[in-house]
Amino acid sequence: MQESEFSFELDGTDLPFEPGQSIMEAATQAGVYIPHLCHHPDLRRNGSCKLCTVKVNGRFGSACALPAQAGCTVESNTSELQEMRRQIVQMLFVEGNHYCPFCEKSGNCQLQVVAYHVGMVDMHFPPFNTARQLDASHREMLLDRDRCIQCARCVRASQDLDKKNIFGLAGRGMNIRLVVNSDSGLLGDTDFSSADHAAQVCPTGALIRKDQAYPCPIGSRLYDTPISQHTIRQDARHD
């Protein structure tokens, strides 16, 4: 019975896990994709996007935050959850100003690929049309808050990995915004560099290199093929 001592059931399949691993980590290790945006394997957990919501023994919870527990039953790829995840992605789309046709990140964007994955075809909800500040002050990097989904990946990477603490989230409710830790509030007035970890982790085109434009042609972009065809671990680490 040693095998079941450290295993749980995910969508009917037994998955092994190492003690202390989250459901997300165990699934990723086993090559099973659970949709996510704020989770990143190199960063401390956050649990804000809620895309990775699964049902553990019948109760909703975030796969990135909940520890895997022996013998528990986890549902992820069910029509109920995929339908709700689709609504979550649609919420992110109407909240921000996400226009794929003129975004350099298109094809390599995790927001977009999660939308594809959960079968989103429209925004469904009324768009908020909120004006957000664009920050082009930095030499190498552009900060386009229209595309920001408040996942705090850059905040965590800059704090924990780069030890620079360049970003923060400020405000409340729908007014929450990514802010920059400088007197002027501008990225150009910080020691941020395109070599920072924080410059690599944005899942969308919110924090993007200025000098690359469209780096690869349509057809050979990362997400021109379905996400299940990638090795999940590589995908999870992708910028």
């Binding site: 226009y99 594809y116 079968g119 768009p127 049309n129």
Partner: protein
Amino acid sequence: MTKPTIATCSLAGCFGCHMSLLDIDERIVDLVQLVQFDRSPLTDIKHCSEQGVDIGLIEGALCNAENIHTLREFRRRCRILVAVGTCAISGGVPALRNRIPVEECLNEAYLQGQGIDQPQIPNDVELPLLMDKVYPVHEVVHIDYSLPGCPPPADAFWSLLTALLEGREPSLDYPLRRFD
């Protein structure tokens, strides 16, 4: 038995979606066998027939008063209305101007911009007024289905139309589901 009718229509867009529809290549012949085209820029018929059509495809975003009238008339005459392409679904490229107040847009285009000869904001009653922002179509009418893409791939049109004609719920395979 009469053939199902299809109409297409364009608002603020680039006609790229219509081009993509034509890109179904020789299957256009199959399509014509299956359906009767009603109002469409392709047929140059300007209004849907009084008795209405079965399927309407609408491309483009809402950017002026005329777009609103066109969309509402089209909605009224289509039993199933499909929003086609990013502009219709989210505002798309025309919505680039949403970052800029409409006064500034007009100012730049007609008053202060380079090379302007007789600065004046046009006021002919024939000209439709611009709205303050560019809106997606689902803000103004009910939309039954959406076909995303800029433009949607030709195969996506084929997949959606054949499903609707056969009475199936449309569902796009991954390669046909794209926002750019």
